[in-house]
């Protein structure tokens, strides 16, 4: 079954999330080496869990399309959730790398 446009778009957003989260994780790994503070370690754990979450999302989008294909509302909801997470991660990336 072909992937719906909305689930395809959600997959792309998850991919961009992974790029941002990788950039954040890279900064925090480097800073943890320098500072060894629990704040940075906590942020690093946050980034890693979010990376795993996005990887699972991608996995679900590609392997469990029957889960989404029946209902366009579900697809729309999935897309909105991915989009909002992208906005959140983009803000955090902006204030962290600037």
């Amino acid at each position: 079954m072909a992937m719906s446009t909305q689930i395809l778009a959600a997959s792309v957003l998850s991919g961009v999330n992974i790029v941002f989260l990788s950039a954040l994780a890279a900064v925090w790994v480097r800073n943890y080496r320098t500072f060894r503070t629990s704040l940075v370690l906590g942020l690093l754990a946050f980034a890693v869990v979010m990376l795993v979450e996005n990887a699972f999302a991608l996995y679900f989008f590609f392997t469990m399309q029957s889960l989404y294909s029946g209902d366009p509302h579900v697809q729309q909801a999935v897309l909105v959730l991915r989009g909002l997470q992208l906005v959140a991660v983009a803000f955090l990336t902006y204030v962290t790398v600037r």
Partner: protein, 91 residues
């Protein structure tokens, strides 16, 4: 300010250079050019960090427009202990 300092200095990409700038300004005020020379960091990078530190109330500028000297604020000095705790991690 305490939480902002922690994030600004330990969790951001430019955190290490910001700590070095504050350390250098703790000895005595300096202008952006001197900071760039002494820390061996590009002038534009120093300028950027100075703007970020100034907007967070950590430093303030005095003197004429060209070669303005940067000072640590009294407000920052209240959180000196927090800074020293962060800075010890850098050694």
């Amino acid at each position: 300010m305490e939480k902002a300092l922690w994030y600004l200095l330990t969790a951001t990409r430019g955190g290490e250079n910001r700590v070095r700038i504050i350390r250098t300004l703790s000895e005595r005020p300096r202008n952006a050019n001197r900071l760039a020379d002494e820390l061996d960091v590009g002038y534009k990078t120093i300028r950027h960090h100075l703007d970020v530190l100034e907007s967070h109330g950590v430093i303030e500028a005095g003197g004429d427009k060209y070669g303005r000297l940067y000072f640590l604020t009294d407000h920052f000095e209240q959180y000196r202990d927090t800074f020293e705790e962060i800075a010890t991690h850098l050694d």
